[in-house]
Structure formats: C-alpha cells, structure tokens
Symmetry: C2
C-alpha cells in the first residue's frame, strides 16, 4: 500500500505525481483539502485543525479528522501517524518545503528522518533517509547527502567520490554532487543519511 | 566587530538590515556581488567560484577570493571561515533560505548549528542557536524551538509552556509557539537548541 500525504506548500504537478506513483490512499492536510479537491482528485482522509481552510463546507462530504488547534503534533505529523496505522509500504509526503515559514520546512525534513518510510517529494526535489546498505542512483540533477547521525559512507561513480568517509552530522561536504556513471552507488557503512535529489534548471 | 555575509536567495530589505544591525564588514557570496553592488552598498570582500555571476567585471574593483568550482566547502561556508579569521563578535548570514535548491537551505541551517556566532536573517525569520543558559524573547510572531542535540528546556510566559522538557533532536513539539507575556524566557538546561522566530502575516 502506498499513501500520499498532501501538505502545504503544494506541488504544481500533483496529477503527474499520482500517475507516476499510483497511490492507493490520499490524505489531505488542512488547506490541502481545497487544493486537492480543486484538482478533482479523490481524498480518502482530511486531517487538520482547518484554521487556514476557507471553504469548510467541503469537509462535510469527506472522511475527516478535525484536530484541536492546541496540540502537540503538527497537522502533518498527525497525518503521518494516521498513515502509519494503515501499515503502508511507502508514504509519500507531497509538498511541505519552501513556504514563508521555514520552521515548517524544517519540521517536514525532521519527519523524513524520524519516520523511515517517508519520501518527501516537491516540484524540485526527492528527499529520503537511507540506513546501512547499498543504494543505486540514476538521476540527472544534483545529488546531496547529509548525515542524520554521524555516518560512514562511500560514493562510487559520482562526480565527487568518497571512500569510507566519516560524515558528521553538520558536514556539508556531500552537497551538489552528480551521478557520473549510471547507476552510481551510495554505500552507507554506518549511521543514517539524508539524500536530497534536486532537478537542474533546464 | 559585526560581519554581514550576504548570500542567495537574497533578502528584499538589505538596506534596512544594515541600518538596524550596522555591520562593520560585509562579505558578498558569489551572485550576491551583483545584488549588493546594485543596491549601492560597499562590499569589503567578495567570495565565490562566481559560476553564477553574470557581470564578472565588477570583481576587478573588489577585494576578491575566487574559489575553485571543485571544492570541499560551499561558497557560503568558505565566507564564514574567512569571517571567523577576523574574530568577529557576531556574524549575520543574510538570506540563504528558500531557493529552489532545498539542499542549500539545509546546509545554511547546518552552519547556524556548527558556527555558534551566526544569526541567519531572512525577510521572514531570525534563526540562531542557543546553548545552556537563560534567554529572553519579545517577538510578536511565531517562536519555534528545535533541539540541535538532545536537550532539556523550559519555556516561561509563552503561549505553550514547558518545564524541564526533554526535547529530542527530531521532535517538533516546539513549533509555532508565541510569546504571551514579554519578556518570555527560554531556559536551556542541557544541550543546544535552534530557535526560529518568524513574522506573522499582517
């Protein structure tokens, strides 16, 4: 089972992403209800305090969990916790990066680190965590790797290679790399890393 | 001594920030050279590989460090290391949040965690790290606190209060708080936190 969680700021190409990933279940977070509804895409669950939702009438037609404004979780984290109850194979957090409130971007990145099944997808980037193992990459854009916990990694067939490199949590040495020969390999020998793949401007 | 490091994405109100903080020294990073120059603001040092700078002629008139494109540090981190050589009291990283490349936003937040003297300032937010101690806040907008390392914190006179709360590195419980009574107090009993103060939409 694949779950989409659609959150603000919204992506431009939601329909394309649905065609590409074919989710079985879609959760719209707060103001995303209007957005998804406006795109004529079915919503399986609406989650939020809906303090930013203009047309609350939509909610009456939907399966809805209305949260208190005073709560410990953000609306998006609550949606993630609901998604996890369905024991999905994959959760895609769609959007959530780049609004005027950088703290929400920061929180959404934290969810990618905390809940391992999440891939965060925006118009520009795909962001995901990787534990110990070997992973192949074929992207044409920028490839950046940061350490979620102090890690040891190797990068093979990338423009900049690393061999059993100790990557500490605040290091930015892994930024702006590129696949040189497909597939390029990331080997996480120890720890856990965050990979950000970003498209290049045409 | 106060140093401004101006980086992409640029703020809208650089002149206002200069009037407010009165820096003694200004470093322009890469394409920020054109931006700062265009605002008729003096540049003390230009740092970058200048691969995104359109008018390279400007550089001839400036104190410039030209970096190799293939390098371990980002242009912005190199500028920070140059700034630190001047033993400043404060470094203000101006801009650097919210471009299409989320990996650069992420890296710039890492610098605020790694180099304790940095305050990152954008049009919307002020972002800074705080170690053990007591700090007062008077802002009217959103106040968010995240743990750089697992921390213990108290929040007094905020809308949502905490008392000796164990804040782990991926927790988002500290997001979207507000000062209730000025000055509100953040007490860091252990660890180190990242505070993001964001303006409210008018």
């Amino acid at each position: 089972m694949k779950i989409f969680i659609v959150t603000y700021p919204f992506v431009k190409n939601l329909k394309e992403l649905i065609n590409e990933y074919k989710p079985n279940y879609l959760i719209a977070v707060d103001s995303a209800v209007s957005f998804v509804y406006g795109e004529n895409i079915p919503i399986d669950l609406a989650v939020g305090d809906f303090d930013t939702l203009k047309d609350k009438g939509i909610l009456k037609t939907l399966n809805t969990i209305e949260l208190n404004v005073m709560k410990d979780e953000t609306d998006t984290e609550y949606a993630i916790l609901e998604a996890l109850k369905l024991k999905p194979d994959e959760i895609y957090l769609i959007g959530g990066i780049g609004g005027a409130r950088i703290e929400h971007t920061y929180a959404n990145l934290n969810y990618v680190k905390r809940y391992k099944k999440i891939k965060l997808i925006t118009d520009e980037s795909v962001i995901s965590s990787y534990g110990i193992g070997t992973y192949e990459f074929n992207s044409n854009g920028y490839f950046s790797v940061f350490a979620n916990t102090d890690s040891v990694i190797s990068l093979k067939d990338f423009l900049y290679e690393l061999d059993c490199y100790k990557l500490d949590q605040l290091s930015t040495i892994g930024i702006s790399n590129e696949v040189k020969e497909k597939p390029a390999k990331l080997i996480v020998h120890a720890g856990e890393v965050l990979v950000i793949e970003t498209k290049k401007d045409k």
